[in-house]
């Protein structure tokens, strides 16, 4: 689904964010990207979302060559990707329901069909009873779950998440990760940036470690399921 081939990214300031990065993420695969801040995690996700363009190499996502993509193709490309942000990025002047409905609205989906899908997504993250509330009235963990519902409502093949548990306590973080695992099980590819080694080491998924823009190690722990008690 995602294929990095000797991708490099140098910002106009001269900073080398990524260098010679190669990896592939298969369909239905769940991988973490970790590393210190400034190691290139955010840049990597920005490249996949088309916010930044690689300086060199080749990047193909879901059959789209991002090196050759024109800016006016980006919106429809992004609609195929579900994105979860560290700080939720919910719209506080809309209800939980309307927030989750936003991607469907952008796609121009029929509202009745949309309603059904929004309900399904909210049910999935356990917030169906709070659909009429304002996101501000929810706890941090609930807000992040709304963000996840919004990311999956369009049934994307790829889910990107940037520090989705950044502001959550370990218990809530584990809940969020368990939620992601459910999506993986139905064939969605997930790429999750996180610096919380204690959390992700115990989950047993593939871990890509970035160090100064390079892939320093790749590990696939086998102690799946041991996570919950490991921190």
């Amino acid at each position: 689904m995602i294929a990095f081939d000797r991708v490099s990214k140098r910002y106009p300031s001269g900073q080398q964010a990524l260098a010679n990065l190669s990896f592939t993420l298969a369909r239905g695969e769940f991988a973490f990207i970790t590393g210190h801040s400034g190691a290139g995690k955010s840049t990597l996700l920005k490249l996949v979302l088309g916010i930044e363009r690689p300086s060199g190499g080749s990047l193909v996502v879901n059959g789209h060559d991002l090196m050759a993509m024109s800016p006016n193709m980006l919106p429809s490309y992004r609609r195929q990707i579900g994105t979860v942000f560290q700080d939720h990025q919910l719209l506080n002047d809309r209800s939980v329901f309307d927030n989750v409905a936003l991607p469907l609205e952008i796609s121009g989906l029929d509202p009745r069909e949309g309603k059904r899908r929004v309900r399904a997504a909210l049910d999935k993250v356990g917030l169906l009873s709070k659909e009429k509330m304002s996101p501000m009235a929810l706890s941090g963990g609930e807000q992040q779950r709304v963000g996840i519902a919004r990311a999956v409502v369009n049934t994307p093949r790829i889910i990107l998440a940037d520090e989705p548990t950044g502001n959550l306590d370990p218990e809530l973080s584990a809940e969020i990760m368990a939620l992601f695992a459910q999506f993986m099980s139905v064939g969605v590819s997930l790429l999750v940036a996180s610096h919380d080694r204690a959390l992700i080491d115990g989950l047993g998924y593939r871990i890509l470690t970035l160090e100064e823009g390079r892939l320093s190690s790749e590990a696939t722990p086998h102690i799946k399921g041991a996570a919950a008690n490991d921190y």
Binding site: R79, T83, L91, L102, P103, E105, N154
Partner: protein, 347 residues
């Protein structure tokens, strides 16, 4: 969730109309949620549209109310009281020799008297005392010209001007020049270039028209800036929302839509405000304008439609014009402003 591929391919898309209905309703609600700011903007737009419209009406009132009475300026030539019909023919011949003279109408003292009687509503018997027959029977101190002795009106020649051959000369100049030439002819007592005040009024109407056009252009620029700024500010306010929308796949066009509707609604509302203000203004000063115009038109008592009546006829047309102008300017301003501001909101 399911493994179904991305939404776009298989699902039923909502009609564009429903999408626009939703976006326009959202834009309307946003405007309503900030009533003070919206009202102030509407007032600004309304006043900006009102001024050129009012000037336009003043100019039209002048044109239709006064200037239509006499399309070409003319010169009135009053002969000496002792001048005979032969004198009148001779003077006419001489005037016709001059350049830029179109036609001459001779009004004899008797005709003039009858005309005066009609317009002034004088009693027929009273008029009869000025009649030639009557005057013969009465003591006559001036036997040389008994026919004119009691009629105080002179023979009048009304000279109509044709367009000047010298294009650089204004109509007023032509009239002045001809008047001076005619004054030198024998038997001519006095000459009035009647076109002069009309020409001045024409010039005034022209000035007002030009001013209205200039003002309209300036106001249009001002409106574009004002609406554009309002839209730009509301884009800034929704920066986060726009950024998030773009991140999850909204195109610039999609993001811009509510702002375009906001610009359209502000323009339409401003046009309505301008129209209402115009009704108020015309109600307040319309009477004075009528009186002013009556000063010029009473003598012809043929003011078919007063400016107020004209205005009432045009009220519906005006509403359409103001709404249309407002809507077009609002939409255009929003288009330019939102395009730039939204493009700047890159994730």
């Amino acid at each position: 969730m399911t493994t179904k591929p991305a939404a776009t391919a298989s699902v039923k898309r909502v009609g564009r109309l429903a999408e626009h209905r939703r976006e326009s309703a959202r834009a309307f609600l946003r405007l309503r949620s900030a009533p003070v700011a919206t009202l102030v903007t509407l007032l600004v737009i309304g006043i900006a549209l009102l001024l050129p419209s009012l000037l336009n009406h003043l100019q039209r009132a002048l044109t239709t109310g006064v200037l239509a009475l006499q399309s070409e300026p003319s010169i009135s030539v009053y002969l000496e009281l002792k001048a005979t019909e032969d004198d009148a023919s001779r003077v006419s011949e001489q005037i016709l020799q001059l350049t830029d003279v179109d036609a001459i109408e001779i009004i004899t003292p008797a005709q003039a008297l009858a005309q005066l009687g009609e317009t002034a509503g004088l009693d027929k018997d009273l008029l009869a005392t000025f009649n030639d027959e009557v005057s013969v029977r009465l003591p006559n101190r001036n036997p040389a010209s008994p026919a004119k002795s009691r009629n105080p009106l002179p023979t009048t020649l009304v000279v109509t001007l044709s367009a000047s051959k010298d294009s650089s000369e204004t109509v007023a100049d032509t009239a002045e020049r001809l008047a001076a030439e005619i004054r030198t002819i024998d038997s001519v007592d006095s000459v009035t270039a009647e076109g002069a005040w009309l020409t001045r009024l024409h010039a005034l109407a022209q000035i007002i028209r030009r001013s209205a056009q200039l003002l309209a252009a300036l106001m249009a620029i001002g409106l574009l800036a004002a609406i554009g700024n309002t839209v730009r500010l509301s884009v800034e306010q929704r920066r986060d929302e726009i950024r998030v929308s773009k991140l999850i796949g909204a195109s610039n066009g999609y993001v811009a839509r509510p702002f375009l509707y906001a610009g359209l609604f502000l323009g339409l509302g401003g046009g309505l405000v301008a129209w209402l203000l115009q009704l108020v203004v015309v109600g307040l000063v319309g009477h004075e304008v009528n009186q002013f115009l009556a000063l010029y038109t009473a003598q012809a008592n043929s003011l078919a439609a007063s400016p107020i009546a004209l205005f009432a006829q045009q009220a519906a047309q005006d509403l359409g014009l103001l709404l249309g102008t407002g809507a077009a300017l609002g939409w255009l301003a929003a288009l330019v402003a939102s395009h730039r501001a939204i493009a700047a909101c890159e994730p």
